[in-house]
Symmetry: C2
Subunit: 337 residues, 2 copies
Amino acid sequence: MTDQNGSQSKRHRRVTAQTIADLAGVSRSAVSRAFSPGAYLSAEKRHRILKIAAEAGYQPNALAVGLKEGRSNLVAVFVGSMRNPYDAAFMGCLARSLNAIRKWPILIDGTDKSANSAVEELMRYPLDALILRGGSMAPEIVEHCARAGIPMISSGRPVSAPRVDNVCCRNAEGLREMTRLLIARGRSRFGFLGGPPEFYSSAQRRAGVLGALDEAGLRPIAEATGDYTVEVGAAAARRLLRENDLDALVCANDATAIGALSAARDLSLDVPGDVAVVGFDDIAMAEWPIFNLTTVRNPIEPAVGAIIRLLEKRLADPGKPGESISIDAVIIERGTH
Amino acid sequence: MTDQNGSQSKRHRRVTAQTIADLAGVSRSAVSRAFSPGAYLSAEKRHRILKIAAEAGYQPNALAVGLKEGRSNLVAVFVGSMRNPYDAAFMGCLARSLNAIRKWPILIDGTDKSANSAVEELMRYPLDALILRGGSMAPEIVEHCARAGIPMISSGRPVSAPRVDNVCCRNAEGLREMTRLLIARGRSRFGFLGGPPEFYSSAQRRAGVLGALDEAGLRPIAEATGDYTVEVGAAAARRLLRENDLDALVCANDATAIGALSAARDLSLDVPGDVAVVGFDDIAMAEWPIFNLTTVRNPIEPAVGAIIRLLEKRLADPGKPGESISIDAVIIERGTH
DNA sequence: GAAGCTAGTGAACACGTGTGCACATTCGCC
DNA sequence: GGCGAATGTGCACACGTGTTCACTAGCTTC
């Protein structure tokens, strides 16, 4: 009979609570109550209503509920760049976790400048929250969100505004620990290959390296900045390695480090014999035998877990002050140090 | 004065069309009309209303509009796995394109079985469409969508149901062409390393290889299946290359091919001297100098463009029959053949 | 000046839901 | 039998919007 309906050009009438009420011979209120756990309704009637609803494929309209409750269960996620393997993996984990608690992540790819105007447009929904991952966001947008009362959770780069929650990896501590390890293994001629200087993560990681070197009475022989991609990392590393006699090259992320590995190969430098190369993040590629990269893990699951916890706390108490959670980095020793 | 309001524990009253109407001394209808381009409204009044609205940060509530119009501007996107670099890149491009036309992609990560129940739950929103990328979806969900009148667009694996649109790469033709090229270059002892056998793309690509070999009176010496990941690809390739004397190994995707490259390296086989290795997709990594992989490009932007076009056509005419668009694959000659 | 037409405007309805409130019914107890 | 309490149910409102419909004021035309 569905096939017979297949040719319907009439407007497909959506099945609503009233439909179910008519079918079950009860009032529309009763149908609504059948779907809200705490409500007064005789067990027999509730059971009958739910059965009929299931047969008819009825579910309460989320837009109507959202309009009524002032809460949409939608969460905007502003992600730096999907081309970055770390961000992509992070996004996947975050999406799964949000799906599990029935919050729906709306993906805004933030590479383009148009992303900011997209967020502005999205504000028309009563979003449950706005989650920032990495990428920068115009300050006026942040303020606009705050004024509209949309909770914000930032991950990877702290946002200091009244009721904004933050989740951040201990970048400096991680790379400081790693640098200490390299020094203990006898390395002394250090280079640092950073990311975009305006990135918080890159600045923090650099600070960690310099801190550890300072403790040991050392200073970096050379520095350069990349853009967190493999290609630019390789080019920058080639220059650093050719023009300086380094025995350790600390990179601000794994993609850059992987670029550095191929630069070393091009220059016939043995890793780790001639020079140690380490990264940050521990993306899936770092474990591949071809790279076997020693790195500092920027753990995704604890960070996502913290975001989910903060989100639930914030929804329970919208007025509470902002909170900051730090995630410990983990040294992963493989074959390049 | 905003700061003074900062300590408000009162319910943050959302600014609504009525607020603007009161401020401007007009009726609420006038405010609504000011925001709908075609409506009758004196230019002077419209201008004043829009100015006041901008100052107050008012935008029409998307939930209310959606409820009224029966269209939410939300699009569910069901993606195979974010860990797969091709899927991640595809998703990024798709998100950007959807953002640009003011459609909001809700990301459902489909690795888990719970994804199907998530889709069911999402059905409570009057979704503009459901976009499938790769990953399989339970047939009952497909039927449920059809019954609820939610348009579906599938990419990467055709879904044959009444009003479902499809976008698919010419997998077979792409790999057939590539195999012909290898044969023309003198290769004759072929191996094929596939993906999961139940994947449409893997089966199609295999068919292309076998077709080209058949034309030349050849047959593959050995075959194996992987799961489209580097790790499993490497293990399978190692076995294939050790147990057979191949001079060409055709892989069903780039990740597998990259695994094969490292297997060849382990076995001290020269690529392309001893054996040619080719992949499919042309992910960003394929271009890296370390891999420099000859492959068949599965072009993302044309595919995403086709999805967007199909979506707009479908929204304009919900009853039209399903359409299928094929995307040409492109041979990318690099250093491994 | 009357009539007809046009541009502009506000009241009212519909969209689909959750829930406060008033009411109906039943039960236990004196 | 009477009465308070407890339980179940339906009406009506609110959420915020777009749009139809009736209506008014202003202008043109005879």
